[in-house]
């Protein structure tokens, strides 16, 4: 891949990401020019998102229904499904993600050019869902940064559309005065893009899976 991250930078100064630098401040302050420019670029970006579908399971069926005529993603500027990461804006992970596919989605995310966003569709992509076992990633936010989580098992097309509208709302609130906005969160020297304890915390069992019986 050729991508290395000798000194990863944080998205916010709350020591969220590896090597967080608390002293980082924005170099430009919002003014009349930047806000008007923000309005224009955000309007253009939010209304012409090209999704990169990463469908692995039943959520992909709902995603297809969302893209088809009845629910019609094209109404929100998503006319073109981008099956090439180089021409994509938003990665939609629809379905569970096994550890075997983790390097694949990570590489697709690294191949996508900025600006880029991601949607985690469904319970399994967001948390591991019912698959709290040896083979499944417990939430794709341990692999790539996630902007919008869509709950459901699988979510109805309306749910995904609502998530997309939320993402558009988020995009319309972005500003170029935010230095951290287009930060690449690359896999760091530790082999993870989050601190190891954060991955463990995100992957902790919750809900009913706390009570599931374990063998051995």
């Amino acid at each position: 891949m050729g991508l290395t991250n000798p000194d990863p930078m944080p998205i916010n100064p709350a020591t969220e990401y590896e090597g967080a630098d608390v002293t980082t401040v924005s170099s430009i302050s919002p003014n009349w020019v930047t806000t008007k420019l923000d309005f224009l670029t955000n309007w253009a970006r939010a209304n012409s998102l090209w999704p990169m579908p990463f469908g692995t399971a039943c959520c992909a069926i709902e995603y297809m229904a969302t893209a088809a005529s009845r629910f019609d993603l094209a109404r929100f500027g998503m006319e073109r499904q981008s099956f090439s990461p180089r021409q994509a804006d938003v990665l939609i992970c629809a379905g569970r993600l096994p550890f075997k596919l983790a390097p694949v989605i990570r590489r697709i995310w690294d191949q996508m050019p900025q600006p880029k966003w991601s949607i985690s569709m469904g319970a399994c992509a967001s948390t591991g869902g019912i698959f709290d076992n040896y083979s499944m990633v417990q939430g794709i936010d341990t692999i790539i940064p996630v902007d919008v989580y869509v709950p459901g098992c699988p979510p109805r097309p309306e749910g995904l559309l609502y998530g997309i509208l939320l993402l558009q709302k988020k995009i319309k609130g972005e500003t170029i005065a935010d230095d951290m906005l287009r930060e690449e969160h690359l896999v760091g020297p530790s082999g993870l893009f989050l601190p190891a304890e954060r991955v463990d915390e995100l992957s902790e069992p919750f809900g009913n899976s706390v009570h599931q019986t374990r063998s051995a």
Partner: protein
């Protein structure tokens, strides 16, 4: 037709398959016990004779079990019970089924002779059993993991002593997964038909030799 069809379906009858008596006559003590479960006859054979029994079942005209439906294994929660390797056989011309089990003592190395030489379909089935249970199939041409990646280091996931969430922490599992090279999982040789060239039908070999692609009538 009627009774044979019902026996083939299995669900309507609970009689022992006649193959069991034939097996006992042929192999004697190597056939340990047999039972009928939900209409399916199960035969337990000694693991060191399992290959001979399966070869006999395939090659004897009166048995003619020419199709290996599945190879799998069962690990029981009771640690004293052996691990069973299960062969599900099907005779396509006779429309008959037979399940052959070989119990492997867990104190000894889990080894059994491969049936790849009898049914080529056993290739991936035995690889899956190796991947999930750690049974070594002696004589298998390419025994490596098939579902988990080849560098998977946590053990054999379907063993009863394997914890549901794996041995390593989630961070370590994620780190190892991200360190994997996705292209390393499949070799070009695995995806090509070059090795099986000699086994292809003659007309297909001829078309391949001419460099043609696609299906010709």
């Amino acid at each position: 037709m009627g009774s044979e069809w019902r026996r083939a379906r299995g669900c309507l009858v609970s009689t022992v398959s006649p193959s069991v008596a034939a097996l006992r006559a042929e192999f004697g003590g190597a056939v340990q016990r047999s039972l009928v479960s939900c209409g399916d006859t199960v035969v337990y054979v000694a693991p060191e004779r399992a290959h001979d029994v399966l070869a006999w079942l395939r090659d004897t005209p009166a048995q003619n079990f020419n199709y290996l439906t599945d190879v799998t294994a069962v690990d029981y929660r009771d640690p004293g019970l052996p691990l069973e390797v299960v062969y599900q056989l099907r005779s396509l011309p006779r429309r008959a089924d037979l399940r052959v089990k070989a119990a492997l003592d867990k104190a000894a190395p889990l080894e059994i002779r491969s049936v790849y030489d009898l049914w080529r379909g056993a290739d991936w089935l035995e690889r899956e059993v190796y991947d999930m249970f750690g049974v070594t199939f002696l004589g298998h041409p390419d025994l490596r993991r098939i579902l988990m990646w080849e560098t998977y280091a946590e053990g054999y996931p379907l063993r009863k002593e394997f914890p549901l969430r794996g041995h390593f922490s989630r961070a370590e599992q994620t780190r190892q997964a991200l360190a994997a090279n996705p292209e390393a999982h499949y070799s070009l040789e695995e995806l090509s038909i070059a090795e099986s060239y000699d086994e292809l039908p003659a007309d297909m070999r001829e078309r391949l030799a001419r460099g043609e692609r696609g299906f010709l009538k």
